[in-house]
């Protein structure tokens, strides 16, 4: 094997892509060739530098949810089947479990489910700020934002412009909450951002407003016209309440 022939095979040799005869021929040549030997050492050095350099990028946490949301939004029929199976499994448990136990269980499940949801809402809000991905569609015009959601969701979220009241609509985004794609509308009040999450709800509207504070963020929740609303922001509570009041009008 000539040096030129060997040089052409060094990468394949290092990558373990040569058959045993080829490897043997390269190794025999290298015993008498310092240049090829040095190059192989360099190739090994480069490979381990790349390996040890932790150059691999990890998918950011929000991406998985974004992907799942997008897939489910692209395939809205699936949601009804989730409901069907959930309903069926609830029915089955109802038959199996004694009434008292069932009540206790479902109450517990409900409260911990809501806790999870609140955490999810706060993280969605924080993520939208951190990832610099506040809006998918940027417009202060509700007539631009509203149609953007059609085709992406199986419902049409109300997109109210509150600019004249000091809450500027800056756009909308598709998010994923409560096991479904949801609309996120983004409002801005001075330098603060407000996320409004809206999705259809089966809860009976109580007319009551829930107020929560988590990790320094204020949340306001209500149900109106068959939709569940969640407002979340680092904005102070009185101003956020004002925003909720205007949205409800």
């Amino acid at each position: 094997m000539t040096c030129k022939e060997a040089k052409n095979l060094l990468n394949a040799y290092v990558d373990g892509e040569l058959d045993s005869a080829g490897s043997l021929a390269v190794e025999t040549h290298m015993r008498g060739c310092a240049s090829c030997l040095g190059e192989v050492e360099n190739l090994h050095g480069l490979a381990s530098a790349i390996e040890n350099g932790s150059l691999r990028f990890k998918a950011p946490a929000h991406l998985k949810r974004r992907v799942q949301g997008a897939i489910r939004a692209a395939n809205p029929q699936a949601r009804s089947s989730v409901f069907y199976w959930r309903w069926a499994s609830v029915l089955a448990s109802a038959l199996l479990i004694a009434a008292l136990t069932w009540t206790v269980t479902s109450r517990w499940a409900e409260s911990s489910e809501e806790k999870l949801l609140v955490n999810d809402i706060v993280s969605s809000h924080v993520r939208s700020m951190m990832a610099n991905h506040v809006t998918d569609v940027s417009s202060s015009d509700s007539h631009t934002v509203k149609p953007w959601f059609s085709g992406k969701l199986d419902y049409s979220p109300p997109t109210k412009d509150l600019t004249e009241h000091g809450f500027r609509l800056i756009g909308g985004r598709l998010d994923y909450l409560d096991n479904r794609p949801v609309a996120a509308l983004v409002y801005q009040r001075s330098q603060h951002f407000i996320n409004l999450f809206v999705w259809p709800s089966n809860d009976t509207p109580t007319g009551k407003e829930e107020q929560l504070a988590r990790q320094g963020y204020n949340l306001i929740h209500w149900t109106q016209g068959g939709m569940s609303y969640w407002l979340v922001s680092e904005l102070n509570l009185p101003e956020l309440k004002e925003c909720a009041r205007l949205l409800k009008q």
């Binding site: 060094l10 790349i50 691999r56 990028f57 990890k58 799942q68 997008a70 692209a74 991905h133």
Partner: protein, 175 residues
């Protein structure tokens, strides 16, 4: 299979490879935001073709879709990638520095990252698939839609360019 079962099957088969998909997209686009978009679009495409996926190597399949998505995105933006010819190994003229002087030791991670980002896109993808995903020449050839010989020569040229870049940076730092 119901839609829901199908989605669950898709989640279980494809989402474990989200890191690999994102890593390739990130190295191809060289920025976070575009990498997010390419990965999401690729997953949507993957879901669309999920029914016709034969079920062999899911990671390679997804990586091929990421790559295609990236190139069609590039075409849409009408930015032509700087493609270099894939001819014979004729890089001997590239003045290969002395092996001794280019011995790669304690390469700074940022320099290495910059060296990789500096590579032409088809060299970069070959290095990412080989060194970070550990794929064989055959697998890379399938993903990139080129003959195995081309993969071999792209890798060889990519590595030579990396070595030259690193040697150059090292000598600049010594001055």
């Amino acid at each position: 299979m119901s839609d829901q079962n199908e989605m669950t099957a898709f989640d279980q088969a494809v989402l474990p490879h989200l890191d690999a998909a994102y890593n390739l997209a990130r190295w191809l686009t060289r920025n976070d935001e575009d990498a997010d978009d390419i990965t999401q679009e690729a997953c949507l495409r993957a879901f669309k073709y999920w029914k016709s996926f034969s079920g062999r190597d899911c990671r390679s399949w997804l990586l091929a879709i990421v790559r295609n998505t990236f190139y069609s995105w590039l075409r849409q933006r009408s930015v032509q990638p700087v493609l270099t010819d894939d001819g014979e190994m004729d890089d001997t003229a590239d003045s290969v520095p002395d092996p001794e002087s280019t011995l790669i030791q304690n390469v700074d991670r940022n320099t290495l990252r910059a060296a990789l980002e500096d590579l032409a896109v088809e060299f970069r993808e070959a290095i990412v698939l080989r060194e970070m995903e550990g794929l064989s020449y055959k697998e890379i050839a399938d993903i990139a839609g080129v003959p195995i010989g081309t993969v071999m020569s792209r890798l060889a040229r990519a590595r030579k360019r990396l070595q030259i870049y690193l040697a150059k940076t090292a000598s600049e730092n010594c001055l």
